[in-house]
């Protein structure tokens, strides 16, 4: 139905996509796989008309298209749901659903008619979202549903989904998959971008793998192994994504006793974390594990309970105090909380360490040394491209993450807290992050990893705390954490 041939895109002379062919049939789910920077988002943006292609041809239903704009793409029946939503926060769900396509009779809006058709649309998809709520007040999952509903309002022939499950809980993702099955049955072709191998396996009919702007190949999903896909994507056989970590549990570095946060997001949580071990925090999105990390670091006000570093009680944790006490925290939302996106990688990497003697003498920065000092951490993390002077926003997601992680290497911290360390980054960067965790732990640091990726918990952590509705409901030691054992605690049940 959709046929793209020899498409090439250059940005100011830099080739982002090189002579790529791509096709999509009716009722097909065609997955796009590739590391960040491989050209996936360039390809879907070209198909969605966000920007024009440099060379190549595109046709839909045999009708050839010379150039696409977002409006034109929509008229051809192509709708896209990008990771960054096209929702306007200050308008309601209903208003957003019809934004840009309002139905008017003469000068005035047909408000009743739009409401009726919005209700029908959401019912059809099985999404429950309050129509009159402002989008700003919705959860990310609800926004995702609105975004999808909005894309489907025009009854598209082609639907592009860019990592739609990145922020959904499994239950919410399940709803999305049901909706996708419905659309598939209605002959809608779906282009599906995801990093999650299990989803690609369960949902897609074919997979196209891109690397470095080139197409590596298109394969029928059922005929290829996961290892085969990863190898196509990374360009080298990935023996093991997860490194083998040697645990040598030492003295307790961090201890929380009966911690309760003011907002009630953490309730009576007690835990210990030792030097030389990785402690996993598991649970659904919203179970309180992020908030627990934040409370320890002083970002979430604590109502009662204590935090101890070694033997020392920390009265009121603050980010500055915790940093001084060698506790390092990496937030889940690197864009909003971790990085100054418009500043260079160098400045971002040294942001928390400007007070170190290596970098400053009194109020004066030793700016001439800064470049040498960050070079090593950034190289160790494998920043690509190795361009410390570049704006952080110009790097891919995985490399932005590396810039943030470089902060943890500026001095030897004793405790590292990672909140969703691999969210939205590609497999290659994930491996780099895991290797970093390995080297930190084996160097004697205490590492806490809060994540929604079960394989990370299973393969990295030596002990796992499972949280549910703010409480720690299980403490699983080594040998006790298979997927099923962890999941059995996700809903608060006793195993």
């Amino acid at each position: 139905m959709l046929q793209v041939t020899g498409i090439t895109k250059k940005f100011r002379g830099v080739v982002a996509l090189d002579n790529v062919d791509f096709s999509l049939e009716r009722g097909e789910v065609h997955a796009l796989l590739g590391e960040n920077g491989a050209g996936k988002s360039t390809l879907i943006n070209l198909i969605a008309g966000t920007f024009p292609w440099t060379e190549g041809a595109c046709s839909i239903d045999g009708q050839s298209i010379s150039a696409l704009t977002p409006q034109a793409a929509r008229e051809f029946g192509i709708a896209a749901v990008f990771q960054e939503f096209s929702l306007v926060p200050d308008l309601t769900v209903l208003e957003n659903l019809f934004l840009g396509r309002e139905r008017s009779g003469g000068l005035f809006l047909k408000r009743r008619e739009m409401r009726q058709s919005a209700i029908e649309l959401l019912d059809d998809l099985g999404f429950q979202v309050p129509l009159d709520e402002k989008v700003a007040f919705l959860s990310r999952a609800q926004k995702q549903m609105v975004e999808i509903a909005k894309a489907l309002r025009t009854k598209p022939k082609v639907l592009i989904l860019d990592e739609p499950t990145a922020s959904l809980t499994d239950g919410e993702a399940e709803k999305l998959f049901q909706a996708m099955a419905l659309l598939k049955a209605r002959d809608v072709g779906i282009i599906y971008v995801s990093h999650r191998m299990a989803e690609i396996r369960n949902l897609s009919d074919r997979v196209t793998v891109l690397r470095g702007g080139r197409k590596i190949g298109t394969v029928v999903t059922a005929e290829v192994s996961d290892e085969g896909l990863i190898e196509m994507m990374v360009g080298r056989p990935v023996e093991q994504l997860f490194p083998k970590i040697e645990y040598k549990p030492g003295p307790v570095r961090l201890e929380g006793a009966n911690l309760t946060s003011e907002s009630g997001s953490v309730l009576d949580a007690s835990f210990v974390a030792r030097a030389g071990e990785v402690v996993g925090l598991a649970g659904l999105v919203g179970c309180g594990r992020s908030e627990l990390c934040r409370a320890i670091f002083g970002l979430e006000p604590i109502a009662s309970g204590t935090v101890k570093l070694g033997d020392r009680l920390v009265d009121h944790p603050t980010p500055a105090g915790m940093l001084a006490d060698n506790v390092c925290y990496f937030p889940a939302d690197r864009g909003a909380e971790g990085l100054a996106l418009l500043r260079s990688a160098r400045e971002n990497a040294t942001m928390g360490s400007l007070g170190l003697p290596a970098l400053s003498a009194g109020p004066v920065l030793k700016f001439w040394r800064e470049h040498d000092i960050i070079r090593d951490p950034l190289e160790r993390l494998g920043l690509r491209p190795m361009a410390p002077e570049r704006k952080v926003s110009a790097f891919s997601g995985g490399n932005q993450q590396k810039v943030m992680l470089a902060r943890g290497l500026m001095k030897p911290f004793e405790v590292y807290i990672f909140d969703e360390p691999t969210v939205g980054i590609d497999v290659g960067a994930k491996a780099d992050v895991y290797n970093l965790i390995k080297s930190l732990v084996e160097g004697g640091a205490c590492v806490i990893v809060s994540t929604s990726e079960l394989p990370e918990l299973i393969n990295l952590a030596s002990r796992i705390y499972v949280m549910h509705e703010g409480r720690i409901v299980a403490d699983l030691g080594e040998g006790e954490h298979s997927e099923a054992q962890i999941l059995s605690h996700y809903f608060g049940g006793q195993a």
Binding site: V88, R101, H195, G286, L454
Partner: protein, 346 residues
């Protein structure tokens, strides 16, 4: 990776999350302009108690007239601000419109002696033309070059004031049509000042625009999130252009009406109008970041400011002191609003 990156199979469907917040009584009060209504009531009651002359018919008419002259440019400011911009040139447009109105009448009188209504109409067309031109240039600079609206309209203000002052040397232009002053400036419809009636009609039009038209919705969308609006197929450039255009035309119309009131064209009026209109808009709940704000609340805020100014005049507060009070009122009003909104978690 192969162990199943998600736990789809084992996880039962999670119960729907409740809506993140329920609209309680306080919420609804805040959303419906409760803060600005309270400000207004307090100001009216306090003034009426302190100074009984406040309730005189003539004084109330005076308040209403001042309110009207603030309301129209405040609505203009609101349109641009909800679209995510600022218009600092409203005052300057007012000044240059006043000069244009008087000049057209003065010069036109030589060619069309005795045809006062024709002159009035001609000058109205001229000021609307001037307003439209300024608005389009503002919009062109803001959207075409991605310049900051703040800087563009600040520069535009300087340019326009410069033109008006150079042209008039700061001297008022007399000789506007008699019937203009008596009919428009001092005239009444059903016992209400003409200016007030016009401003209320514009208010009604703004309410309809915001609530019942696609254009109104697009203005909110563009102000709230330009990128999302563009991706949704909203003609963002055109929407912004219309917002700036309407704003400058409304400011020009205010200059036209002001000339009728003053009986002369003056290049020095409107100096503090940019601040006053932003104050009215913000007290009325218009977000400085765009996307939020309603005409009826801005109207209440403009009325509040008019009452406060009148109260100070009645109690013979030094005019220099008045600007200080206005600034303080603005800060206090914003601080109260922010505190209440923070409690709501917004």
């Amino acid at each position: 990776m192969s162990s199943g990156a998600t736990a789809t199979a084992a996880a039962p469907v999670k119960a729907e999350r409740p809506a993140p917040h329920k609209a309680g009584l306080l919420d609804r009060f805040l959303m419906q302009g409760g803060i600005v209504i309270t400000f207004l009531l307090v100001a009216v009651v306090a003034t009426a108690i302190m100074e009984p002359r406040f309730l005189n018919r003539l004084n109330l008419l005076n308040v209403m007239r001042n309110f009207a002259f603030l309301l129209i440019p405040s609505l203009a400011q609101m349109l641009v601000m909800t679209a995510g911009g600022f218009d600092l040139s409203v005052g300057a447009v007012l000044a240059i419109s006043s000069v244009v109105t008087a000049t057209v009448m003065l010069v036109g009188a030589q060619y069309l002696p005795g045809m006062e209504w024709a002159l009035i109409l001609l000058s109205l067309v001229a000021v609307i033309g001037v307003g439209a031109l300024v608005g389009l240039v503002n919009a062109w600079l803001v959207t075409g070059f991605s310049l900051s609206p703040f800087m563009v309209t600040l520069a535009m203000m300087s340019v326009l004031v410069g033109i008006a002052l150079y042209f008039t040397q700061g001297i008022p232009i007399y000789g506007v049509a008699e019937s203009f002053v008596s009919g428009v400036g001092r005239g009444q419809i059903l016992g209400l000042p003409v200016v007030l009636v016009i401003s209320l009609v514009i208010l009604a039009a703004c309410i309809v625009l915001q609530r019942f038209t696609a254009l109104g919705r697009h203005i909110y969308a563009v102000g709230s999130d330009l990128r999302s609006a563009r991706l949704s197929g909203v003609a963002t450039g055109r929407t912004l252009a219309v917002a700036y255009l309407l704003a400058s035309v409304l400011a020009a119309l205010t200059g036209f009406l002001m000339t009728a009131r003053l009986g002369s064209g003056q290049s020095t009026i409107g100096e503090t109008l940019a601040l006053q209109t932003i104050a009215a808009a913000v007290i009325g709940g218009v977000s400085l970041r765009g996307g939020v704000g309603r005409a009826e609340h801005v109207a209440l805020a403009a009325l509040f400011l008019a009452v406060v100014a009148n109260a100070m005049n009645l109690t013979q507060v030094d005019s220099k002191f008045q600007t200080l009070v206005l600034g303080a009122v603005l800060i206090v009003a914003l601080a109260i609003e922010r505190l209440l909104l923070r409690r709501r978690g917004a």
